[in-house]
């Protein structure tokens, strides 16, 4: 039992990301409201970003901005050696900047489409739209 708790303590960040992802996935599939689905889609994307950021975390390290680094003063001289263990891994952060921007782009497009759909059918509920389509 204590083994289980220690593994949960080790992995709780990963755990939360799975929970959030499942919430988002459920919302996309099961919710009938189009905007709710978009909210779910965003939660899903953010969960994946949380996963990547968790990969990037490193114990005993600081944020990835090199200290005492001011342009020309350091480069070339190579006076102090920079140790990779002192700084958090920047690569996942870079990837996630991209992912966040992609998420907001998708959000804009999805909302624009939702507005088009609303203009046409006067409702955002998927089942009501399908009922309207079936009538014709």
């Amino acid at each position: 039992m204590s083994d289980f708790f220690s593994s949960v303590a080790d992995y709780y960040n990963y755990l939360i990301y799975i929970v959030l992802m499942v919430i988002g996935l459920y919302a996309i599939i099961a919710k009938k409201n189009l905007v709710k689905k978009i909210v779910g889609m965003n939660i899903f994307q953010t969960a994946i970003i949380l996963f990547y950021v968790s990969i990037g975390a490193k114990r005993g390290a600081t944020i990835p901005i090199i200290e005492h680094g001011h342009g020309e003063a350091v480069h070339g001289a190579g006076s102090q050696a920079i140790k990779a263990a002192e700084y958090i891994n920047p690569l996942p952060h870079v990837l996630m900047l991209t992912a966040i921007v992609v998420a907001v782009a998708t959000l804009g497009v999805a909302l624009a489409l939702a507005i088009r759909v609303y203009n046409r059918y006067e409702t955002l509920e998927e089942d009501e739209i399908l009922a309207q389509l079936r009538e014709k």
Partner: protein, 276 residues
């Protein structure tokens, strides 16, 4: 649908839990993710690009190609929103309602597409007209220049502190959006028209891709900013640093313009007339 949703969610959950057992422990400095590729970024960024913020260096230089396409994604989103929502300009006269603030009388004016000059004692009324709150209006107006200043700072200071083109661009865009929310869309459009932000958006990406193409023309690989050393009269490492700054400015412009573009299209349903 609900059972399907639960089923899919449970399946995914089970699959991911199954894999979690083999993860390296959280935040373990010895795991593969921290030892294979990334140490070079941290150790060499000062030496190779002279940018202390490793994230900016990786974003705009080591993986600059990704970032170019990321900016393109934003640009594409702007164009798509315009393409889907923007309604063609209506022909013929439009009727606008005005209220005389002194007497409270409402008049209907027949006018063209162009918005007539604003007179002191007349107030335009929309279908969704609501009286604007003076406190909100004034405080937002005071806030806007500071926001823009901060946005510029964030773009320019991305080398040394968190920030860069994206964050700064979004803040700049948000300042215009704030103006559009606190006043109305017309006020914001009078400051920055549709054509301006629709053109700024590709121009921003063009600055990025053009820098890359310039490097290609100068005989190096695409986006190899070291090639700019000859033009900028600096050594190749500093040229990389300057190249990153140029690129970040492009990103900032594109992101700012796109955020405004998307907001204007969504909030006015493509009519570009009445805002929120």
């Amino acid at each position: 649908m609900r059972t399907l949703g639960i089923l899919v969610a449970a399946l995914t959950c089970a699959l991911l839990f199954y894999a979690m057992g083999d993860f390296p422990p959280w935040a373990d400095p010895g795991s593969a993710a921290h030892t294979h590729v990334s140490p070079r970024y941290i150790e060499k960024t000062m030496e190779e690009t002279s940018v202390p913020n490793a994230v900016t260096a990786v974003l705009a230089d080591y993986r600059g190609f990704d970032t170019m396409f990321e900016t393109t994604v934003i640009f594409a989103a702007g164009v798509v929103c315009f393409f889907i929502l923007r309604l063609p300009k209506k022909e013929g006269p439009i009727f606008r309602r005005y209220r005389h603030t002194l007497t409270g009388m409402t008049i209907r004016v027949k006018c063209t597409r162009k918005i007539p000059p604003v007179l002191e004692e007349f107030e335009m009324i929309d279908n969704l007209w609501a009286p604007h709150d003076l406190i909100i209006k004034t405080s937002c107006r005071i806030l806007v220049p500071f926001l823009q200043l901060f946005g510029l700072y964030v773009i320019a200071h991305g080398h040394h502190s968190p920030g860069g083109g994206f964050q700064g661009g979004v803040i700049l865009g948000a300042s215009m959006i704030l103006l559009a929310i606190s006043h109305d869309l017309r006020t914001a459009l009078a400051r920055m028209g549709e054509k301006v932000h629709a053109l700024l958006c590709p121009i921003g990406v063009l600055i990025y891709a053009g820098t890359g193409a310039l490097c290609l023309v100068l005989g190096r690989d695409f986006l190899d900013y070291g090639a700019l050393a000859g033009i900028l009269h600096v050594d190749p490492v500093t040229a990389r640093s300057h190249g990153i700054l140029i690129v970040e400015i492009g990103v900032g412009l594109a992101v700012m313009a796109t955020m405004i573009w998307i907001y204007n299209n969504i909030s006015s349903r493509g009519e570009y007339d009445e805002g929120l």
